[in-house]
């Protein structure tokens, strides 16, 4: 169940977006996040929305998964919408109920901000839905490579991340086992007041940490014996390939940016 929570985010597929290089996807999303802020009128927001819909179509991700990704931010979305409705006091009053007034500009801003939220969440969701965590790590490593010049341990960070990802299911299994073992000894993890439930987690965490440290030690030995000496002089088995898809999609983003600049006031 818990495994689904983390890995269920990635949906394998064979669409245009799936087959893009993780580097270009990352660049694309970062650039998109920036250009979203260029929009400031109806035409530009419409363009952003249309472009996002187009990307969704290209990724062949079912809308259900995207709506799912929206769940955690829906409250934030409604909250910001309400703030704009309540506190922007410009333009004509379009609705009045006692002292509660809705101004035209407020509604406008509220809708714009909601669209901005929506496209950002959709785009980042598409990134994580179409790219496996390990590919994202690979992409990040190559993109951050220039930062090695300022002594950022890029390779080590990427390796740490990939090992962490690789061990999540292993530790999940372990947690499950420990949980059952403690339950067999009569510990109740799901009942009682909050204080008791927090206390019940301690006998779960202690063995988990002990075993995680033991695993780390074993892994370090295994890595050393297999000749791991840091990133120097290492070759890569996972090769990233930049092809026409990546160039096309980045080019399309450039086109969208230009149109945005032209259309905005």
């Amino acid at each position: 169940m818990m495994e689904k929570m983390i890995f269920g985010r990635f949906i394998p597929g064979d669409s245009f977006v799936h087959r893009m290089d993780p580097r270009s996807k990352l660049l694309f999303v970062f650039a998109f996040i920036v250009i979203v802020f260029l929009a400031n009128n109806v035409a530009t927001y419409a363009l952003l929305l249309a472009f996002t819909l187009f990307v969704i179509l290209m990724s062949k991700i079912r809308l259900y998964f995207l709506i799912n990704g929206l769940k955690p931010v829906i409250i934030l979305l409604i909250f910001t919408f309400m703030i704009h409705i309540l506190f922007t006091r410009e333009g004509d009053i379009i609705f009045q109920l006692g002292f509660f007034k809705v101004y035209e500009e407020g509604l406008r801003q509220g809708i714009f901000i909601s669209i901005r939220f929506l496209v950002l969440v959709f785009m980042t969701s598409i990134l994580t839905l179409t790219t496996s965590p390990i590919s994202i790590t690979d992409g990040l490593e190559t993109l951050l490579n220039p930062l090695k010049k300022i002594k950022l341990p890029v390779h080590e960070l990427a390796l740490m991340m990939s090992i962490a990802l690789r061990f999540i299911p292993t530790l999940m299994d372990e947690t499950d086992k420990i949980m059952k073992a403690q339950m067999a000894r009569g510990s109740d993890l799901s009942a009682g007041p909050l204080k008791d439930r927090i206390k019940a987690v301690v006998p779960l965490l202690v063995p988990l940490f002990v075993s995680a440290f033991k695993r780390a030690e074993d892994l370090a030995t295994a890595m050393e014996v297999r000749g791991y000496r840091g990133g120097e002089g290492r070759t890569r088995y996972r090769q990233l390939k930049w092809d026409w898809r990546d160039t096309t999609s980045l080019a399309s983003l450039v086109v969208v940016t230009i149109i945005l600049v032209v259309l905005r006031n």
Binding site: R166, P169, R215, D218, A222, G227, R229, R238
Partner: protein, 281 residues
Amino acid sequence: MTEILSFNNVSYSYTPDNPNARKAVQNVSFSISEGEWIAIVGHNGSGKSTMVKLVSGLLFPQEGEVRVMRDVLTEENLWEIRSQIGMVFQNPDNQFVGATVQDDVAFALENSGVPYQEMVQRVHKSLAQVKMDNFLNHEPHHLSGGQKQRVAIAGALAMRPKILILDESTSMLDPQGRDEVLKTVRALREEIGLTVLSITHDVEEALYADRILFMNDGKKYAEGTPTEIFALGDKLVEFGLELPFAMRMTKLLQSKGVQLVGEHMTEEELVNDLWTSNFNK
């Protein structure tokens, strides 16, 4: 025969400042030639694990020397020698570095800077050798223990090692997984003449070896073929080792008055002797 690995009067103590403390390994000498399968057996604390650490250069002996391919193992040639040693450890999960099977097999190759094209070839070849070539993109948590250990063997093979060291590699597996791994190692020996050093307290595994080194209290207690070693019988039991199942069975049958002559190392020998035992009457 080319010598692959040797210990010459090797001693190691975890507390070198205390001369009275028992040494983990005491004055051990032995050598392995190309193509041999040697098993080191002994109960817990007999110095087996320390010997593995001495071979792989995680520890250096305080006395004596460890030679791999006739070169004395030192800090300087450590990494070069490690690339000639393939090791498979006890816990299948804790030695799986890569995100998928093929990534893991490629790990040691990446470390030593093998070019991409050659890496792909070697990964596929060594996975085929352990019959795991249909699992290229599997993630470790979808594999059984035996499969993970076979991937670990493939990872070692990809480096074309001179010697494969199995450090209690089968002790955490179910019987099926254990058979899987041992069958793989035996097939590899026939196929590519691999030299094997297996550290184990599983006597059935030790039976496959050409020679057994019996360790007790950090000292080499005995060395010989499986037949010679298990002829020690009760001596082994005294030191906390079990006898192979067939031998225990023979002893029990004899004590019940069944007429059985000689020792039986494997089940097959025992069964053959049992059904033929009345032929001459």
